[in-house]
């Protein structure tokens, strides 16, 4: 129940395409869902986050879609660029005092020029 399942494991798109990364969770107590972006040799950095009381959130070219009933959320990258090539992690946080994130297994995205 504490798992977050992320797919696909890897993804290759052409420049300008719209890669979509999906995550699914079981624990309905999760109430905060961040996405992290990681470049090679660097630590993860927060990209965008959403709470289950909204169905969509946009920040620049990045959009999170959230389906509470299906317990799924996804990241869309509009007009993808080669600089977006990175590994993306979804995560979920339970409403406990320690805010321990449960991370997905990551998606390696490559955007071709």
């Amino acid at each position: 129940q504490q798992q977050v399942k992320q797919s696909p494991q890897s993804l290759i798109v052409q420049k300008g395409g719209i890669p979509i990364i999906n995550c699914a969770y079981e624990n309905t107590a999760f109430d905060y869902f961040p996405w992290y972006q990681q470049f090679p040799g660097k630590g993860p950095a927060l990209l965008i986050a959403i709470r289950p009381d909204v169905s969509e959130k946009k920040e620049g070219r990045f959009t999170i879609s959230f389906n509470k009933s299906a317990k799924q959320f996804s990241l869309h990258i509009m007009d993808s660029q080669p600089g977006d090539s990175a590994t993306y992690f979804c995560a979920a946080s339970p409403p406990s005092g320690t805010y321990k994130y449960i991370f997905g297994t990551g998606t390696r995205l490559k955007v071709l020029a």
């Binding site: 961040p34 630590g43 993860p44 992690f89 320690t98 805010y99 321990k100 991370f103 997905g104």
Partner: protein, 117 residues
């Protein structure tokens, strides 16, 4: 403002050796975390701390120890290195308050790449 600083960046250990991975943050964050990242496995929480003097186990604590004597520092200790501890280790920090509507992100260091042979 350096953020979260981890040292060393790379290290090779022999089986049975011990070492300490250093982590320091200059953002006055109260929460700190240690994760390990294995290929295709995402990030697994090893230990975390909610403030100076307080630590607790995460998902994969066996073989590791931590201490938090100051707000800034959160070292991770490997006492008897084993090949299964070959991984990339990330330290993170976060400011936490009671208002989850204004939750701040976890800030990560650039990692320590550890190989045990």
């Amino acid at each position: 403002n350096a953020g979260v600083t981890q040292t060393p960046k790379f290290r090779i250990l022999k089986i049975g050796q011990s070492m300490t991975l250093q982590c320091t943050q200059d953002m006055n964050h109260n929460y700190m975390y240690w994760y390990r990242q294995d290929p295709g496995m995402g990030l697994k929480l090893i230990y975390y701390s909610v403030g100076a003097g307080i630590t607790d186990k995460g998902e994969v604590p066996n073989g590791y120890n931590v201490s938090r004597s100051t707000t800034e520092d959160f070292p991770l200790r490997l006492e008897l290195a084993a090949p299964s501890q070959t991984s990339v280790y990330f330290c993170a920090s976060q400011i936490r308050n009671r208002n989850r509507d204004r939750e701040q992100p976890q800030h990560f260091g650039d990692g320590t790449r550890l190989s045990i042979l």
